[in-house]
Structures are given as structure tokens and as C-alpha cells.
């Protein structure tokens, strides 16, 4: 599995597991900030900018939020 595929898989897992919370996107963004290396976040953000195919909506929103902050 390519690195980007693995990152997409991981982000989607986060999305699934935080989906039980009302503030799922906040939690997902916080998790990415606290546990993912910046290089991983950057790669996935670039992937989102390129369309983010296969990435779940909450993960896309969370990554865009991190890009802004």
C-alpha cells in the first residue's frame, strides 16, 4: 500500500471512530494535530487539494481546518 493510501485509510478510521460524537470534526482535527507528524498532515492536505478521492467528508473538513489554522 502506498503511503498516501495508508494515510487516507488512517484518516477514515479516525472519521469512523469519532463519528459517534457531535463534535466529531473538532475531535478529528485535534487528533491529527496532536498525533500526526506535520509531514503526514501536509501529504494528506495536498491530497485533499487534489480532490481527496476516497477520503471521508469529516476528514476533509478537519484537514482544511488545520490548513487554515
Amino acid at each position: 500500500m502506498q503511503e498516501i493510501d495508508q494515510l487516507v485509510k488512517m484518516a477514515n478510521q479516525l472519521s469512523d471512530n469519532f463519528s459517534f460524537h457531535e463534535d466529531a470534526v473538532d475531535r478529528l482535527a485535534d487528533h491529527l494535530r496532536r498525533f500526526w507528524a506535520p509531514s503526514m498532515r501536509r501529504k494528506l492536505s495536498t491530497f485533499v487539494d487534489a480532490g481527496g478521492e476516497g477520503l471521508q467528508p469529516d476528514a476533509i473538513v478537519a484537514l482544511r481546518r488545520l490548513q487554515v489554522s
Binding site: M1, Q2, E3, Q6, L7, K9, M10, Q13, L14, D16, N17, S19, F20, H21, H31, R33, R34, F35, W36, A37, P38, S39, M40
Partner: protein
């Protein structure tokens, strides 16, 4: 001695009046005033038995001569322990023993270490009036079947100590006494050899034998030890204290330390006997370097090796950036060593790319317990289990993986505590001598979260929650939200039955049993953490403990059984890419500034790469250099082909280990490590207990591991100057609030310390979260079930789960190089008879196990321990390739691999897998390249 009543009685022993606990024996009372009554069958570690008749005393007003070990004190008793009549009786008993056990001590291996010899000497018995020519046992055949000890019945006095040790301490009930009177003899099993019996080679019988009847083979071969060093075992997370006994530089015996609070004098086959690896010929004791992994190794000086490593790392950083390198430290190394590795990576590498093997075992424990309770650690001391009324063991097999704790656990179960086992397999605890689980919830792999939620659902919806505890101790809003979530029908046992495979009625009964206990304790292992929802299950376990009020006192709690000796410690020491020592996030500027001041360097504020992220980045081409201390990722980590590809992608791999392990075959620099016998430091076990590791012999390679890290750091331009690990611990104490009160001086004084140890708890903290949680109020986390992506299909219809066996340890690097391999010499595939029959597989057939990741071939063992649809193997031998089959699925929060769920197909085959053939060829090639290093040196 049981002081349960708290009441005392006053009596007189040899004219001295004293008061003792009412439960004391006469022998114990006498010992209190320094009077040693001669004895043979009695020992402090075992309940009195009264068989030897040597400890006789006179009690005024009482007929005869009662045995002091079995006679309980009474108010006003007047006892005489010495008289002419008593001496006569005792000498007579001794003479009878000696008539069948001649005092030919000079030729005996136990000469000087024999209680029969000592007692005879104390009583002045030199000759035997009965002679030794009568009927005797002197021609009885020795049992030499066990590789570690010999049983010589001719030296046995049938005192039952070995039987009682096996029963009461180990709980195996493997020994008994056959026959009566003169024909009495100790037998293993049904008069089997020790090796063929149920004996687990814990050594308790050997420890307690008063003669040479049961004795270590090392003592027979080399004689008695001449010096000793108290240290801590380097195997599992129980962290047993041992007395390493040596003759010169040769370790002859590892005796479990009765003062050690983790083990209280008990041991298992690994810690007790499997230490010969430390001096195995495979040890690499000279640094080596090479340009590429196709080149021969070249032995060089320490200076050259370290300089070479530093230059290659710096060159990589110049070309690919500061974050292009990283390091993995080991849970087998000491706190001080792992602390130094993360310090070097943060301060000298200049990044947070540091991780440790908790990534592949208990990272979810850290995440889950920190989230819910506020601290990434178990809540209790091991001794707490003695106060538990109901014990839930989930995803753990302590009989094999944490055997010394298992013995404590079994003792409590034999006393009447109830047991709930949650495990896909029928592990030994489910049905073992004098123990039967009240409920075995044979959960289907992948169903843990659904199961733990269903238990909580029953407790909440049936009014079994501990409302007072929740109100006083937990966040009310979080509880309200969680209660609403867990009460949903989707979490009921009936709705989750199809996921868990556990009948709803049985699950409900188990939940009732757990919730109704005065004290209910949870013990769990890798069967919880190594799942795609490992962190969720840990949080579910914490929820279960909180909702039933089972935290903050003895007998309860959440207890992760840690796999490796210092996995707790390496996590405590900040060997994570997102946390500094003491579990404090790298983004916390105040915390970071404390470290920056102490280390005089600026630290990164963002997390680094975890181990699997490092591998992915290596394959992508932007992670180029890795320093691995004491880990064997090529064997232990999942999806072996992926790991191999990552290691091959590196420009520089530095491995520091005692052996040229599987990972080192891909290395460019090899730095020889030191075994636990060769260094000073501390380990922290699963109960947060910090214990000293003391150097018993000089390091074979000339340097302890912390010194090697110091040398590499210096070569990288960041010198560290410690003259002893005690100074490293002082720095740890300055920087970690939970270690503020820890020092080597205090460890010497107290023996061991359970952190937190600081101004609030100067002597440590056996039980955590008393009164309030570390985070303040307990947090009920939402634990929604998300099925693993690893699903069975028609192509892969079975689920593979992996685990450990008693005699081998993890990747087997240590135990495979000992006689433990006589007990378990290969990894096998356990398969249910139904699944085997369906595939035409017979016992011992070679079976291909194929998953989406890869395939390997193992021998089949047909076993009803398995449930249909689930197969099992261990991963102790590199040629097995167990992790060729496991996938790169991992825990959602921590990336801990999902070792416990892999969809596979199994079929009968006639030859090894392609990977196994390639592995053997690669291993042979690397052995040749190693041999060339030795032959260049003229050592061929």
C-alpha cells in the same frame, strides 16, 4: 503468616514473655524472640505441614511433643523449645532420615547449601545408630529429563515441600506423593518424567527442596555460587526480582528474591532458568560497519563505528532534511537507556521521530487510560488481586505470558474468587487444576468493543450501576451522554450477539456477576490492544470499572498486563513521537521549555513519526536513516514484506543489539548491546514498580547501552556526560513530576518504588486514583463499535489470531538461545478439528496460511482450544514468518497493529512458502557476510 484478626495473645517461650498475633504458630512465636527451632519440612513461604517431626516442642499442660510449625499459639501458653528429651527425639528423627540419606556431604553438589546437613550439624548428629545398610532408596533412578534441574530420589526425604510449592505457590499441582510409609516417593504427573508431566519448570520445587534431591544442573556441573547480585528479570512485564548467583563471571543460578514485591520469591521458566543466552556464542561483541547490506561486515573500533554512524546520519540530514532520520528504542532496555535515546533523538537528531515497541503492543493502553482516568498506567499493585472477589481476564493469557502473576491470580481463585475469561481461545485459566472459569466468553476476534459495551449496557439498563461512585468521582455531563449512548438497544447483548459470538444470556450473567462483586478487578492484555479498535476497548474497560465503582482501592482496578519487562518504563520515559517524558505533549510550550532549559537545546513542537509511519515514509523515499536499539522490527512488526521493503529503503540503518537479529541483517552499522546482567539501571513493571537492575558481570562488548548512546550523541555534536545511570535518574526526577521523589538512594532503601513518587507520595503509590482520578473527574468515553476492515470472505474464511507460549519470549532472540527450545521448538498452527477435517488436514501436516498480506507454512496442531473458524499461532521463530501473514491494519488512535485479526485460508501443502525460501537464502547470505567479518579478524 495471616494476621487477619488483628488480635494478639501473650505467651512464654523459654522463659521469655511475648505477645504475638493469634494466628501465629509456636514456631513463628519463637522466631520473634530469636529462637530458631530445628526444622526440615517447614519454610516461611509455605503453609505448615508437620511431616518431618523435627520441630517438636514441649508445652506445659499438654501431652506429648507437638510439632511447633502446626501448633497455633494460645493465651498463656508456656513453651519449652529445648530440653534433653527434645534433643533426643530430634536426633533420633534425624538419624532415621540419615539412615536413608548418608551424610556423604563432601561429594554432594549441595554441600554447604543443604538444610538436612545444617540441621544435623545443629543437632550434633554425625553418625547413625541404624546404619545405612538396611532397605533404602539409594539406588533410585535419577530423573534428568528436565534440561535445567535433576531430581534424585535417593536424596529425597519426602518432606512434601516440593509438592506444596507446586500446589500452593505455582498452582500447577504437577507433583504428588505416591505410596505410603517407607514406599512414599515424589512423582511428577502420573509417575511420568518431569518433562512429560504437567510441570512448567517454574523452579519452585527446586527452590524449596531442603536437600540435593531437586537441584539445578548448573550447580551439579559447576558447584555452589560464590557471590550474588540482586537484580530484575529482563523478560515479561511482571518484573520479578532475582538474586543472580555467580561463580566468577559465570551465572550459575537465578534465585527468585523473596523480598521482591512483584514476585515475592516466585519465578517462571524464563526468568528462573533461561539466562544462558547472555553468554551464547551468537553474541556480537565488536562493533561492525558496512557500506551496503550486500557487503561483508567489517569489525572496527567503537570510535570508528560511532563516528561512521554519526557521519552517515548527518549526511542524510544534509541531503534530505532534519526529519529524514529517527530512532526506535527498546522496552527491553532500562529506563535510563530509553530516556537517553529519546533525548538524543530530540536534542541531537533535532526531531521527534522516536518510538518504542509499545507501538505494537500497549500504545492503546496509554491512549485509553489517559483519556478516561488521566494516567497511562495500570491502577494497582499485583498484590491487589488477593482482595478481588470477581476477576475479569480479557485478551490475556497470563499462564503463558505473565506466569508469576498467573500464580497469584490462581491462588486467589482457589480461595473462591470468581472468574470471567474473555478470549477466543479456551486458555489454560478457563479450566485448570482446581480452577474453572465461571464464564468463558469466547468472543469472536474483532468483537471486543461490542462485548464490553454489552456488559456496560446490562449494568446501566438493569440498575446495576454504582451511582454513588459515579456522582462523586466522574464528570456528570460525560456520564449523561455515555449513559444515553450505552443504553441504546444496539449495544444490548442480544443485538451484539452476532458480532461477539457470545450468547446474550451468558453475557448478561457475566455482567451481573461482575457488577455484583464487592471488589471486581479487570486484567487485560494484547488481546485487547492489538485490534483496530484497541484504544476503544481500553476505554470501554475503564468505563466498565467506573460504572461499577471498581477503582481507587485494593482488589479492583484496570490492570494492563504489559508484555515486555520495561514497556511501561519506555513509555514513561517519553519514547513516543508526541510525548515528552511523563506523558506530556510536545506542543505544551511550558513543558517543552523545562526540557529545553535542562538540555540546552530547542525542541520541536510537533509530533514526529510513529514506527509504521517511518516505514511508509522510508518506502516513499523521504525517511532515510534509522537507529534501532534492542528491537527486532523485521520479525516482530506486522506485514513482514512491507517492513523488509522499508528497511531495504534506508540509506543508513544502525542496530544496537546483543545479537545480529533479523533487523540487523538489513543494517549498515552494528553496535553491540549489553544484556541485563551487564549493566546498571532500572526497569518499571506493569504495576508501575521501579526496580533496580544491577550489573553482575562486565559488559561483554566493553560498554553498557547508555554509554553507547552517549558516544553516538557526542559524535553527533551533542555530548552528554553521565558517569553512572544514577545521574540519569536524577535528571529524570528533575524533569518528570511523577518521578520527582525517585533516586537510586531511595531505591536502595525501599527495594522498589511504584510511581507516582513525589512530595505527595514520598514512598510511591501502590494504588492509583484513590479519592480522585489523576485527571480530576473520571471521563466516560463514547465507545462506538466500528467493525474491523479485516473481514472473512470465501477466499479467506478463517480468522488468524496470534499469541505467546510460556517457554518462549516474543521474537525468541533470548529464549531460542537457551534450553527452552526443548519445550517449544517451532511455531505451529492451532486449528479446530472441524476446520482441519473440512480441509483434510491431519495432526502435524504442513499447512499454508494465506492472507491478503502474504502466506507462510506451519505445522498443524489440531486443538479444541480453538473455536471453529479461528486459528492461532505464535511468532517466536523467524523462519515461521507469522508476520508475513498479518496485515497493516492498525488501531485507529495509535496505529498499534491488528495482530489479533487476520482473515486467512489454510490448506495442506508439501513445502515451505516462497517467503520462507527467500528468508532462508537471505539469512544464509547474511551469515556468510558476518563470517567474513570474523575470518578477516583471524577468528574463523
Amino acid at each position: 503468616m495471616n494476621h487477619a484478626s488483628g488480635k494478639v495473645v501473650t505467651l512464654t517461650v523459654d522463659g521469655q514473655e511475648l505477645s504475638v498475633p493469634r494466628e501465629s504458630s509456636v514456631m513463628q512465636a519463637a522466631a520473634r524472640v530469636g529462637i530458631k527451632i530445628p526444622k526440615l519440612c517447614a519454610t516461611d513461604a509455605l503453609d505448615a505441614f508437620g511431616s518431618c517431626r523435627v520441630c517438636l516442642v514441649e508445652i506445659e499442660g499438654r501431652k506429648g511433643y507437638p510439632a511447633s510449625c502446626t501448633t497455633q499459639v494460645e493465651e498463656g501458653m508456656v513453651i519449652h523449645t529445648g530440653s534433653e528429651r527434645l534433643d533426643h527425639l530430634r536426633r533420633n528423627v534425624l538419624e532415621l532420615y540419615i539412615s536413608d540419606h548418608p551424610l556423604e556431604c563432601i561429594d554432594c553438589s549441595a554441600n554447604g547449601d543443604c538444610e538436612l546437613q545444617d540441621t544435623a550439624g545443629a543437632l550434633g548428629v554425625e553418625n547413625c545408630r541404624y546404619g545405612t545398610d538396611g532397605v533404602n532408596h539409594q539406588d533410585a533412578e535419577k530423573d534428568t529429563s528436565n534440561p535445567y534441574f535433576t531430581f534424585d530420589p535417593s536424596q529425597c526425604i519426602v518432606c512434601y515441600r516440593c509438592v506444596r510449592a507446586c500446589d500452593d505457590i505455582q498452582g500447577s499441582f504437577a507433583l504428588s506423593v505416591d505410596g505410603r510409609g517407607f514406599a512414599s516417593r515424589i512423582i511428577a504427573g502420573q509417575s511420568d518424567s518431569f518433562m512429560d508431566s504437567d510441570c512448567v519448570s517454574c523452579g519452585a520445587c527446586v527452590d524449596h527442596c531442603p536437600t540435593e534431591a531437586l537441584i539445578e544442573n548448573t550447580l551439579i556441573e559447576h558447584g555452589l555460587p560464590e557471590r550474588s547480585v540482586v537484580t530484575t528479570c529482563a523478560y515479561c512485564g511482571v518484573g520479578c526480582s532475582f538474586i543472580a548467583e555467580l561463580k566468577g563471571d559465570r551465572v550459575l543460578r537465578m534465585t527468585p528474591d523473596r523480598q521482591g514485591r512483584a514476585n515475592e520469591g516466585h519465578a517462571c521458566i524464563k526468568g528462573r532458568f533461561a539466562f544462558a543466552y547472555a553468554t551464547h556464542p551468537d553474541r556480537i561483541t565488536r562493533p561492525m560497519i558496512r557500506q551496503s547490506i550486500d557487503d561483508p561486515w567489517r569489525e572496527v573500533s567503537w570510535d570508528e563505528a560511532v563516528q561512521y554512524a554519526a557521519t552517515r546520519l548527518r549526511n542524510i540530514q544534509q541531503e534530505h532534511g532534519r526529519d529524514s532520520i529517527g530512532g526506535i528504542t527498546s522496552s527491553r532496555c532500562t529506563n535510563e537507556e530509553t530516556f537517553l535515546v529519546q533525548k538524543m533523538i530530540r536534542a541531537a537528531f533535532g526531531n521527534n521521530n522516536v518510538d518504542n515497541c509499545a507501538r505494537v503492543c500497549h500504545a492503546p493502553t496509554g491512549y485509553g487510560l489517559k483519556t478516561t482516568l488521566g494516567e497511562s498506567a495500570g491502577t494497582q499493585a499485583f498484590s491487589s488481586v488477593a482482595c478481588a472477589d470477581v476477576i475479569l481476564v480479557m485478551g490475556a493469557n497470563p499462564s503463558d505470558a505473565h506466569p508469576v502473576f498467573a500464580s497469584r491470580l490462581k491462588r486467589r481463585l482457589r480461595q473462591g474468587a470468581k472468574l470471567i475469561v474473555v478470549d477466543p481461545r479456551r486458555i489454560e485459566l478457563v479450566d485448570s487444576p482446581h480452577i474453572r472459569a465461571d464464564h468463558h466468553l469466547a468472543v469472536r476476534p474483532g468483537g471486543n468493543v461490542a462485548l464490553i459495551n454489552a456488559m456496560a449496557h446490562v449494568i446501566v439498563t438493569e440498575g446495576l450501576a454504582s451511582d454513588d461512585f459515579i456522582t462523586a468521582r466522574c464528570e456528570p455531563e460525560a456520564y449523561r451522554i455515555w449513559r444515553e449512548f450505552i443504553s441504546k438497544e444496539q449495544n444490548s447483548p442480544e443485538m451484539t450477539e452476532r458480532i461477539t459470538g457470545v450468547a446474550a444470556a451468558q453475557l448478561r450473567a457475566a455482567a451481573h456477576l461482575f457488577a455484583s462483586a464487592p471488589n471486581a478487578a479487570i486484567y487485560y492484555g494484547l488481546g485487547v490492544s492489538e485490534h483496530s479498535q484497541g484504544s476503544t476497548t481500553v476505554m470501554g474497560i475503564a468505563n466498565l470499572a467506573m460504572v461499577t465503582g471498581n477503582l481507587g482501592r485494593e482488589g479492583v482496578g484496570v490492570n494492563p498486563l504489559r508484555g515486555q519487562n520495561n514497556v511501561q518504563g519506555s513509555c514513561d520515559m517519553g519514547c513516543f513521537p508526541h510525548e515528552l517524558p511523563g506523558y506530556r505533549h510536545v506542543s505544551d510550550s511550558q513543558v517543552r521549555s523545562e526540557f529545553e532549559r535542562e538540555w540546552n537545546v530547542q525542541l520541536q513542537a510537533d509530533p514526529g513519526l510513529r514506527i509504521p509511519n517511518m516505514f511508509d515514509a522510508a518506502i516513499s523515499g523521504h525517511f532515510k536513516g534509522l537507529y534501532v536499539q534492542g528491537e527486532d522490527v523485521a520479525q516482530s512488526d506486522p506485514n513482514t514484506r512491507h517492513v523488509e521493503q522499508a528497511l531495504k529503503s534506508l540509506d543508513c540503518l544502525i542496530v544496537q543489539d546483543i545479537f545480529l537479529n533479523e533487523t540487523a541483517r538489513y543494517a549498515h552499522v552494528f553496535l553491540p548491546g549489553s544484556s541485563f546482567l551487564e549493566k546498571n539501571g532500572t526497569f518499571t513493571n506493569a504495576e508501575r514498580r521501579i526496580s533496580r537492575v544491577r550489573k553482575a558481570i562486565e559488559p561483554l562488548a566493553g560498554m553498557e547501552d547508555w554509554q553507547v548512546t552517549m558516544a553516538l550523541s557526542k559524535a553527533l555534536g551533542y555530548p552528554m556526560n553521565y558517569s553512572h545511570p544514577a545521574e540519569i535518574m536524577d535528571e529524570i526526577a528533575r524533569l518528570m513530576p511523577t518521578f520527582r521523589g525517585v533516586s537510586y538512594e531511595k531505591l536502595e532503601r525501599l527495594g522498589s518504588i511504584q510511581w507516582p513518587c513525589n512530595e505527595d507520595a514520598p514512598e510511591g503509590t501502590p494504588t492509583m486514583h484513590v479519592g480522585e482520578f489523576v485527571r480530576g473527574k473520571g471521563y466516560f468515553a463514547i465507545t462506538g463499535f466500528v467493525p474491523t476492515q479485516e473481514r472473512t470472505t470465501r477466499r479467506f474464511p478463517l480468522l488468524l489470531t496470534t499469541g505467546r507460549i510460556l517457554s518462549q519470549y516474543n521474537v525468541g532472540a533470548q529464549t531460542r538461545r537457551t534450553a527452552n527450545s526443548e519445550f517449544y521448538s517451532e511455531d505451529v498452527l492451532e486449528i479446530h478439528p472441524f476446520d482441519a477435517a473440512e480441509r483434510g488436514i491431519s495432526q502435524d501436516d504442513c499447512c499454508d496460511i494465506s492472507s491478503r498480506a502474504g502466506n507462510t507454512v506451519l505445522r498443524a496442531v489440531i486443538s479444541e482450544r480453538m473455536q471453529p473458524g479461528v486459528v492461532y499461532t505464535t511468532f517466536h521463530f523467524p523462519t515461521s514468518g507469522a508476520n508475513v501473514v498479518t496485515t497493516d491494519n492498525s488501531d485507529w488512535a495509535t496505529n498499534c497493529p491488528e495482530y489479533k485479526v487476520t482473515a486467512v485460508q489454510v490448506s495442506q501443502v508439501g513445502e515451505s512458502s516462497q517467503w520462507q525460501k527467500e528468508y532462508r537464502a537471505f539469512a544464509r547470505r547474511q551469515e556468510d557476510l558476518l563470517d567474513q567479518a570474523h575470518s578477516d579478524d583471524g577468528r574463523d
